[in-house]
Symmetry: C2
Subunit: 96 residues, 2 copies
């Protein structure tokens, strides 16, 4: 299923930027970054629980905000994009 | 249905900040801001089309990225939050 992760980092200081980089790195193991603080991850139920635990370990719950949205398996028709940086097809063939 | 709007503004300059404020103002007519550039809007199919048109008019498609995610009507179990700024229940009773 597709899980959307949105992350609002609580500070513009270096600690916040470091947490954003760490969140990005974890999310990119499961999918891709589609905007500065928005990640689309394709996971099963177990991977979703692991992903959540990893991200909760990274963030500062006193300063940051992390949201998870479950889009299900038939998500392609549910996502629309306008403007720059159209995302890749996560499950399509990889063309190099 | 719940539509999630995520908006990546292409510049930190004042023009970008002005567009973000305009996007926020439009989205808040349909719902609420849950993170700096993430908005949850409760709309029907017609309102969704109007919302999209309004936002596309505001953004700079050469610089900005706008994404729409349709979460359907039974969205409450699909959204999870960790950290600060828990969102309000959009359709719950308003307690003043």
């Amino acid at each position: 299923m597709l899980v959307l992760v949105t992350y609002d980092v609580g500070t513009t200081h270096s600690a916040g930027q470091r947490r954003l980089r760490q969140v990005s790195k974890v999310c990119q193991n499961y999918g891709q970054r589609v905007q500065n603080s928005v990640f689309e991850c394709v996971v099963d139920a177990t991977e979703f629980e692991v992903l959540k635990m990893k991200l909760i370990d990274i963030i500062d719950e006193e300063q940051d905000s992390l949201r998870f949205y479950q889009l299900g398996n038939n998500y392609k028709s549910k996502v629309e994009h306008v403007g720059i940086k159209e995302s890749l097809d996560l499950e399509g063939p990889l063309i190099l």
